[in-house]
Symmetry: C2
Subunit: 190 residues, 2 copies
């Protein structure tokens, strides 16, 4: 990449991070280009679709999440590892408001720029889930797609201003459901 192009790319990404943080994943691309001081065509040259921009914004987070999964697999118990990773996955998905919809769409669309990232993220979660299931610590009737869906649901909750205050509590409720084995659910109180 030519030096001037590289500079535009980096600057666009920095501005996009600001704007998307402020306005969400559906922020105006025109506005981003305007605030970056480049032509609209320049933005499209570097990021041909909105997903390409989102992928660039989220890539570092996705990579961290994959590394985190590998680390947790070594260092923590199956339950702690899964819970901790889930919390981080929700945080990544919730990083930019509205981005979760693109992420779940991308996992079923191999042509999306976000496809590879989301697929890798799901695979990392699936490993931690399988490990917990092998020890009987997580519901056996969940698969990686279910886990990804629940991460998405929790990220969606956090994206809604009126629900956000209860998001941490609902994380505990849903994480508890994942870590509860079906046979224990029927148990009566006291």
């Amino acid at each position: 990449m030519r030096a001037d192009a590289r500079k535009n790319y980096d600057h666009l990404l920095a501005i996009a991070r600001e704007v998307v943080t402020e306005q969400g994943a559906d922020a105006s691309l025109r506005d981003i280009a305007r605030r970056a001081g480049v032509g609209l065509g320049t933005l499209y040259r570097h990021f041909p679709r909105r997903e390409a921009l989102l992928d660039a914004l989220l890539r570092a987070n996705f990579d961290e999440l994959t590394a985190k999964a590998a680390e947790l697999e070594r260092s923590s118990s199956p339950e702690e590892a899964l819970t901790s990773w889930l919390r981080d996955a929700v945080a990544v998905a919730h990083n930019y408001r509205g981005a979760i919809d693109s992420m779940v769409a991308a996992i079923a669309d191999p042509d999306s720029a976000l496809h590879a990232s989301c697929h890798t993220m799901r695979a990392a979660g699936t490993r931690l889930l399988a490990r917990a299931q092998a020890e009987g610590k997580a519901r056996a009737d969940l698969d990686g797609t279910d886990l990804f869906a629940l991460v998405g649901a929790l990220a969606w909750l956090g994206d809604q201003p009126s629900l956000e205050p209860r998001a941490p509590h609902l994380f505990d409720v849903i994480a508890g459901a994942i870590l509860t084995t079906p046979s224990a659910r029927g148990t009566k109180k006291r």
Copy 2:
């Protein structure tokens, strides 16, 4: 309302139901007016905001949901009543793709045309939840807002084409979490 206005209102609503069913709650209002054969200003006269249109589309469903709650309170056990009502509430929210975001926003915005409907719906669910909690059949650390949030999360799941196939299963997982008392969750398998 004048007879010609009434006719336009009814026809707009019927066309809007078709278009919103096809394209989701963010369908083009221009397109609805066009397909209804009326001027764009006529649509705005009858439905000054998008939420007013959504409210008109959903009102019958909201009313049914309130009636259903009252009926279930008489006829069913606390667990069955809550589960059955939850299923119906998710179905209503999922009736029009994307409508759930407007609904959760409306519950915190008294100026929204959807505010009253959503508030009533939440109150109905809160009663069924409280009844189940009183008999120790539902988690005590949930309130009506949590229940509404979980309905929203499940409706959101169903709105995502890639997650929809697992939505019924995830309904069971989350409904199970609501009906599980915290003390039972810690129980070990076997």
